[in-house]
């Protein structure tokens, strides 16, 4: 069975780096090509988001295809908000046929939070069900309706997400365990700003030996500006930015320099936490800083 680069890096026990590329609000492939040129060699694989925050953009499958054409490895993101089980399975098969083999499955932010709040949300299935469906397509060669595939099953490395920062830790870890049971091979977490809480969550993860069963990549987001930090702190569901961090950013003479310093501190701390197998960098509107971040934190060469 073929293995993706990301899968190989993780299986060999190396510390992995993935980075996020948001597709454009338009049909020009160049904005993705430009980002891939900036980021080539600075991460093992590149996530292409799927109508992230419920804002309509170029499709993640098309974006992943463009990344692939540049000779880099995409992580094709799939949200359950916009497609039913027929369309999602079709895209899993299609992605694999196009040479896209890493997938990240999410339920998706609710459409009321995005730029088409009058849209009908699909939510035919949830992320855990889709993970299980994807695994069955791959390992059991069956569709969700139990019908057998008629040709090659998709070669996929299945990812899920986890948010260590909302509700109680046992409940979050139970849900992580459910994702593993459903078939998740790797997990990318919500961006870490509250390090003590993340460590507490990781303690609970290790207590159950879940770090042996799944590769955990911790989310990293450099906060480009005070405005962006406050938007994330107060308006993005599920993000936990402690007051002390807000103060640090507000007091900083040079906000961007402080943000990069903080990012470096976070990556170094996270790297030393047992059971964390990599980082996933989401530099919203600041992708050009990813090479510097990766270099500075000693994560090269990739």
């Amino acid at each position: 069975m073929m293995k993706t680069d990301l899968q190989q890096v993780l299986n060999q026990g190396h510390f992995a780096v993935t980075a996020e590329i948001g597709p454009p609000k338009g049909s020009n492939p160049q904005s993705i090509v430009r980002k891939t040129e900036q980021l080539n060699g600075f991460a093992d694989a590149f996530n292409i988001t799927d109508n992230q925050t419920a804002v309509a953009r170029m499709s993640s499958l098309a974006g992943a295809c463009i990344v692939r054409q540049q000779g880099m490895e995409p992580v094709f993101q799939m949200a359950c908000r916009d497609r039913n089980r027929l369309a999602l399975q079709a895209d899993i098969l299609g992605a694999s046929a196009l040479g896209i083999h890493n997938m990240l499955i999410v339920t998706g932010d609710h459409q009321s939070k995005g730029n088409h709040p009058h849209a009908k949300g699909v939510f035919d299935i949830d992320s855990i069900q889709l993970i299980s469906i994807a695994k069955n397509l791959r390992d059991m060669h069956i569709f969700e309706n139990q019908e057998l595939l008629k040709s090659k099953s998709p070669q996929i490395f299945i990812g899920g997400v986890s948010n260590p920062f909302v509700s109680s830790i046992p409940l979050r870890v139970d849900r992580l365990e459910k994702k593993i049971r459903a078939g998740a091979d790797f997990i990318q977490t919500q961006s870490v700003f509250n390090l003590p809480r993340f460590e507490e969550w990781m303690d609970a993860v290790r207590d159950r030996n879940l770090d042996d069963q799944v590769h955990i990549l911790a989310g990293i987001t450099p906060l480009k500006s005070v405005k962006m930090m406050q938007r994330m702190k107060y308006h993005v569901p599920g993000v936990d930015i402690p007051d002390s961090l807000e103060k640090r950013m507000l007091d900083a003479e040079d906000v961007q320099e402080e943000a990069l310093l903080l990012t470096d501190e976070l990556i170094r701390s996270i790297k030393s936490i047992k059971g964390v197998h990599g980082v996933h960098i989401t530099a919203l509107f600041w992708e050009q800083k990813i090479p510097e971040i990766v270099k500075k934190s000693g994560l090269l060469p990739r």
Binding site: C80, R81, R85, T107, G108, D109, H110, S112, K113, G121, F123, D124, I125, D126, S127, I128, Q129, S132, I133, E144, V161, S162, N163, V166, S167, L171, D174, R175, E177, K178, R181, A182, Q190, P237, G238
Partner: protein, 213 residues
């Protein structure tokens, strides 16, 4: 019951335009949730007249969702209904379509938005309780419906957007998964709900158009 609310008065006036109207209410749900009971229709009639709309009459159907019960009532109001250019219905979407099928030559105006099947939780508030998906799984979640009460219909919740135990979409409401968890802890079946992967829901009955009995 079926929870409905009256459309904003300005929107209603726009729909009516220069036409004369006869008003229909309903003795059941629309009365209980104050969108089309006797009191509401009398008030509405006054407001419409003040806005220079001709109201030829009004009646409360008993109830509006029955195709068979109301024939006698219509005899009594025949003239008033005939005089009206349009029939404005203050009942659920079902009631509105019942009126439409009883008066195929008349134009019908829906005076309400039908919101959900739910419960009256206080005198002035209502909560969604059932999406009528046709394949009930409420008992599998200890009597609480995650399909209805989670805006993402999640059967393996809670999602990553719930904050401090509240819903991502309606932050002033408790996440239904917190309620399911609490009840599961009391009943001792937490494991079966929160550890086992709950399979995809069967939506095949959610679009049936009729039921013979």
């Amino acid at each position: 019951m079926i929870i409905s609310e009256q459309k904003p008065f300005d929107e209603l006036l726009k729909k009516i335009g220069r036409r004369s109207v006869f008003l229909f209410g309903c003795s059941e749900c629309a009365t209980l949730c104050h969108s089309g009971g006797k009191r509401e229709l009398i008030k509405l009639k006054k407001k419409l007249i003040a806005a220079h709309v001709t109201v030829t009459g009004w009646v409360i159907l008993e109830p509006a969702c029955s195709l068979t019960n109301n024939e006698k009532i219509f005899e009594q109001y025949k003239d008033q209904i005939d005089q009206a250019d349009a029939l404005a219905v203050f009942a659920c979407g079902d009631g509105t379509q019942v009126v439409n099928s009883l008066f195929p030559k008349k134009s019908v105006i829906s005076g309400t938005n039908t919101l959900f099947l739910g419960v009256k939780s206080t005198i002035t508030s209502y909560q969604r309780r059932c999406n009528m998906c046709g394949t009930c799984i409420v008992d599998e979640f200890n009597g609480i419906c995650p399909i209805t009460r989670c805006p993402k219909h999640m059967l393996n919740g809670p999602c990553g957007g719930s904050e401090k135990g509240n819903c991502e979409v309606y932050p002033d409401m408790r996440c239904v998964w917190e309620e399911i968890k609490e009840k599961a802890e009391k009943l001792g079946n937490y494991h079966s709900i929160f550890h086992n992967v709950q399979p995809a829901h069967d939506w095949s009955q959610s679009h049936i158009l009729k039921k013979e009995r």
